[in-house]
């Protein structure tokens, strides 16, 4: 009798365990952060939809790119889907060092950031995309404020990028003007592009701009860590930064509690991968063709069922 009861209890408990496997470990919503650029919202929505499909509850919380780390450390926020090697590394390292935030691996997308010029400038300035050719026609890029130096529109000061140092190290006849935000950056590009006016500026992918405007990245001497750290390496023996900018992965990070509370979700988040090409296409559909993020994501989910359905297993 007692044995029978025990067996029944055992059977019941295994059943319960099996039931729990199909169900999410916790019905508390997983909070994913969204920022103010489309690519990141698309990435986050794909992740959110995948998690919803696996039975988890998901909540999107709008938060600032850097300020969100304060919330990720305390568990107010749970997952951030796009931390760029190029702009977020410092904040990410600081956060993971506390032990409260964990790196969930690469998203599969690679950030490229570099000086960029529109295609029509190639006629004015033969020899592009080589940086020496760019330098030879620096005067073409001059404005009344910068003349006789050419004007290069850099990113916001907070993006870093060492453009002032680069111009110095490579002895380029350019003056670096920093835009305050990327909206200002693209406003200038749009304005110049409409007038077919000379412009060279900081651009990055994945973003809609390289698909909207025809043009290319300038080719600098290739980046290496030594070139940034060691003055003797590179063209200029006395200065660092005499090379192009590094490219780098876009990372995912999460609050450390995610793995304990929602192990299945954590696995899916780690497995998440999207390519640059797919992302560029989706971002262009939203920003240039005016489709809604949800529609674009649904379209991608339908076309790529094989890849995402394996993440959550």
């Amino acid at each position: 009798m007692a044995r029978k009861l025990l067996a029944a209890v055992a059977a019941f408990s295994t059943l319960a365990v099996h039931g729990a496997l199909a169900e999410p470990e916790s019905t508390d919503p997983i909070k994913l952060t969204t920022h103010d650029w489309t690519g990141q919202i698309v990435t986050t929505t794909i992740m959110g939809e995948v998690l919803k499909n696996a039975g988890y509850n998901v909540e999107y919380v709008q938060a600032d790119y850097i300020a969100q780390f304060a919330g990720l450390k305390t568990g107010d926020l749970h997952v951030a889907m796009e931390i760029w090697e190029t702009t977020g590394r410092e904040a990410m390292d600081e956060a993971t060092a506390t032990g409260n935030v964990v790196n969930m691996g690469e998203t599969g997308m690679v950030a490229i950031e570099e000086w960029w010029y529109p295609a029509y400038m190639a006629d004015v300035c033969p020899g592009l995309p080589d940086w020496k050719a760019l330098n030879d026609c620096a005067e073409e890029f001059a404005t009344p404020e910068t003349a006789p130096l050419g004007r290069y529109l850099g990113g916001p000061v907070t993006w870093g990028g060492f453009d002032d140092e680069r111009v110095e190290a490579l002895g380029m006849d350019f003056e670096v003007v920093h835009a305050g935000t990327d909206a200002a950056l693209f406003a200038e590009l749009e304005s110049a592009y409409q007038r077919k006016a000379p412009i060279v500026l900081w651009l990055y992918t994945p973003h809609w701009a390289p698909s909207k405007y025809e043009g290319s990245f300038v080719k600098f001497p290739p980046y290496s860590a030594e070139c940034y750290n060691d003055p003797s390496v590179g063209i200029n023996p006395d200065a660092a930064y005499d090379c192009g900018k590094p490219t780098g992965p876009i990372w995912k990070v999460a609050w450390k509690g995610v793995e304990e509370k929602w192990p299945g979700a954590a696995k899916a988040i780690k497995a998440f991968k999207v390519s640059n090409a797919d992302m560029g296409e989706m971002v262009a559909k939203v920003d240039l063709q005016g489709m809604s993020v949800d529609d674009v994501v649904a379209e991608w989910m339908a076309a790529n069922k094989d890849s995402w359905s394996s993440w959550a297993q």
């Binding site: 019905t27 508390d28 919503p29 952060t33 103010d36 650029w37 489309t38 919803k52 039975g55 988890y56 509850n57 998901v58 909540e59 919380v61 709008q62 938060a63 600032d64 790119y65 850097i66 300020a67 969100q68 780390f69 304060a70 919330g71 107010d76 926020l77 904040a91 404005t143 009344p144 404020e145 529109l153 916001p156 000061v157 907070t158 003007v177 920093h178 835009a179 305050g180 935000t181 990327d182 909206a183 200002a184 950056l185 693209f186 406003a187 200038e188 749009e190 304005s191 409409q194 007038r195 006016a197 809609w208 939203v286 920003d287 240039l288």
Partner: protein, 681 residues
């Protein structure tokens, strides 16, 4: 922004006319001060080279006060370690956010989301949100109740715009936070105002705090708020309340103080207790002034919509930001105008409530629906449309195919201007840069910091007395000692150029509006729009036409700070005594002479107050100009925000506040002494 800063009661000094026959001491003082400053500014670099004394142009790094590190450490301690035994400091702040979050959630469910039980996919719908038709009819009937059918039509058109241009859901999210932030701001402001009225010591303590709340840029304290109150709409609400509450405190104190003694006496005679005296006598008497405060709170709350959306408030502000990030100028303008129409509707409604006449009570024998026909009708509409929404989608949501849009109109207009006029604009811009902006910039950034402290102290002491002189010098020293001298001088340069241009454009417009009612209505509408339209909306076109740099920043500041220059000028001209003008006419003045000899001199105090407000608004726009790449204190605050550096943000924010406070005190004192000269006080 700082309406009421100048309401401080301060014994103004009599104008120093100097010894009779030698009125020139003042002139000698000012010209001398300027010449010394100019000389030092021009040759500061040469001085540094000759004496090899770098400290002349740069505050020595070793002597900098590391206040930013201290503040960062202090907040870290506050957030992570402070413990009251059973609970931590953070538990307290989280408790406060929970209290605010509850009514906000209810409001939001009512207006947009609908009521649900459970979470995520397990959630069960309990009740739908109010239908859009119901919300419009409620707004219209409120207008009818507060004033008349013209106001009802205006409010109706405003809300119809929100529905027709597809802004409804975002607008309702914004409305939900406004409907929570405004009552908190008003109640808190009134409570503090009452305490300040009763305890003069508390009022003295509160004043500098209010000054700081109004002048420290919001960006400076966003990060600590996020850490303490959590991410999401509540943190945004709290930042909004901090920004929007001070005018309510000031206005309530002033309003209560200005209740006539006879009224209070009468209240005492009929045997009021302290509480009764306050709620039954003082507050009802002061109501019209208090409603001005309510109106200010509403306007400032709407000013914060964009910044609030940066930290998770969503709504219209978020739509503006995302539209601009994809250069959708039309989308940005439509969402921005939605904020404007909402501001107009709420502003006119609150003003109407302020002056509402009490209507006679109807015969209580009549049935309820006859006594309150509009109320009954609105409830019927609300219930019917909301229930019908369950079956007919058109009642639930405004039908998408009826949505209007200005589409690509704005984008193509800007493109047309850009392609055809860029070169002429560029030519004008280059001239202005060379003639005005660059010389002024060189002058201010050249001033050695040590002399800067002396000159600010001397000037403030000369105008407002030695106490203020010492305070101004101390504040200037704080800025230098924080290592922000260069940024501060860039700030002063940008602000002074913008204020100059805003005055040159604004004062003539104001004079015109003050003399011509028709011009007044057009200019008034333009000014209202400029002030409530989020500056982000025009920042992008401005950058497209003027490029990144100081010039774009200046245009944005001028557009925003124009309003008070126009308003105060118009007000000053209008309030000139009719009899004086009459006297001028009788003695044969031409209308030009009346303007120059009578109206303008008498309007001078008003013009100075307008100048004061223009400066305040210009300073409050600084952080926004950081977004187009200036290298001033605004940029410093913005960098601190994006790096989540609490100390750096607060120190830079305080520097901005100090510049604003010094400017405010000096200009207010000037206005006061010119009033006394004219015998207007």
């Amino acid at each position: 922004m700082t309406d009421g800063v100048h309401n401080r009661a301060r014994p103004a000094r009599a104008p120093t006319a100097g010894l009779s026959g030698f009125p020139s001491f003042s002139a000698v003082f000012w010209i001398g001060l300027f010449l010394v400053t100019w000389a030092l500014s021009t040759w500061s670099f040469a001085l540094y080279k000759t004496f090899d004394a770098r400290w002349i142009i740069r505050y020595p790094k070793k002597l900098e006060i590391p206040l930013d590190t201290w503040i960062s450490n202090a907040t870290n301690w506050l957030v992570e370690d402070l413990n009251f035994g059973f609970f931590t400091f953070r538990d307290v702040t989280r408790f406060i956010s929970a209290i605010i979050e509850a009514p906000y959630d209810i409001m939001r469910s009512l207006l947009v989301d609908g009521f649900m039980i459970g979470q995520g996919q397990q959630a069960i719908d309990v009740a739908p949100p109010l239908s859009w038709i119901a919300i419009i009819s409620i707004a219209v009937s409120l207008a009818l109740y507060a004033k008349d059918r013209w106001l009802a039509i205006l409010v109706g058109v405003c809300f119809a715009y929100l529905a027709a241009f597809g802004q409804w859901d975002s607008a309702m999210v914004t409305l939900a936070s406004v409907l929570i932030a405004v009552p908190i701001g008003v109640a808190g402001g009134l409570a503090l105002g009452i305490v300040a009225y009763r305890l003069p010591a508390f009022e003295r303590m509160l004043r500098p705090v209010l000054d700081l709340m109004q002048t420290v840029p919001v960006f400076a304290y966003l990060v600590p708020i996020l850490v303490l109150f959590g991410f999401g709409p509540v943190a945004a609400l709290i930042a909004t309340v901090i920004y929007a509450m001070p005018p309510m405190v000031r206005i309530s104190t002033v309003a209560l103080h200005s209740v006539p003694e006879e009224v209070i006496e009468a209240g005492r005679m009929v045997g009021c207790r302290r509480g009764q005296l306050m709620w039954k006598v003082l507050i009802p008497t002061a109501m019209p002034s208090l409603m001005v405060g309510v109106n200010q709170v509403i306007m400032l709350t709407l000013n914060m919509v964009i910044i609030a959306s940066m930290i998770g408030a969503g709504g219209l502000g978020y739509d503006v930001l995302t539209a601009l990030r994809r250069l959708d100028i039309g989308g940005g303008i439509e969402a921005g105008l939605a904020i404007v129409v909402m501001a107009i509707a709420l502003d006119r409604l609150s003003q109407a409530f302020a002056v509402r006449r009490v209507r006679p009570h109807l015969d209580p024998q009549l049935p309820f629906h006859k006594r309150h026909p509009v109320f009954t009708l609105v409830v019927a509409i609300a219930v019917f449309t909301t229930l019908a929404g369950a079956y007919l989608p058109a009642f639930r949501e405004y039908p998408a195919r009826l949505t209007l849009t200005t589409g690509t109109f704005w984008n193509s207009t800007i493109e047309w201007i850009n392609v055809n006029f860029f070169d002429s604009i560029e030519a004008v811009k280059t001239v202005l840069l060379n003639v005005l902006l660059l010389p002024v910039k060189r002058f201010f950034t050249g001033i050695p910091w040590a002399w800067g402290i002396v000159v600010v102290g001397l000037a403030a002491a000369r105008i407002c007395g030695w106490k203020l002189g010492v305070m101004a010098a101390a504040m200037t020293f704080f800025i230098a000692a924080s290592g922000l001298w260069r940024e501060a001088m860039t700030t002063v340069y940008l602000c002074s150029v913008s204020v100059l241009i805003a005055s040159v454009i604004g004062i003539p417009l104001g004079i015109w509006a003050g003399q011509n009612p028709r011009a007044n209505s057009v200019i008034g509408a333009m000014i209202d729009t400029l002030q409530t339209l989020p500056s982000f909306v025009y920042l992008i076109p401005v950058v497209m036409l003027f490029r990144v740099g100081d010039f774009s920043a200046m245009i944005a500041v001028v557009l925003y700070a124009l309003a008070p220059a126009v308003r105060y000028a118009a007000h000053g001209i209008r309030s000139v005594d009719e009899e004086l003008i009459e006297a001028g006419k009788v003695s044969g003045c031409t209308s030009r002479q009346i303007l120059w000899r009578i109206k303008l001199p008498l309007a001078a105090p008003s013009l100075l107050l307008g100048l004061n407000q223009t400066i305040m608004l210009a300073i409050s726009m600084l952080v926004i100009t950081a977004l187009v790449g200036t290298r001033d204190l605004g940029q410093e605050v913005y960098i601190a925000l994006t790096k989540a550096n609490i100390g750096q943000g607060i120190v830079a924010g305080l520097s901005v506040a100090f510049i604003a406070i010094i400017a405010d005190r000096v200009v207010t004192a000037l206005a006061r002494s010119s009033q006394q000269k004219l015998g207007l006080t």
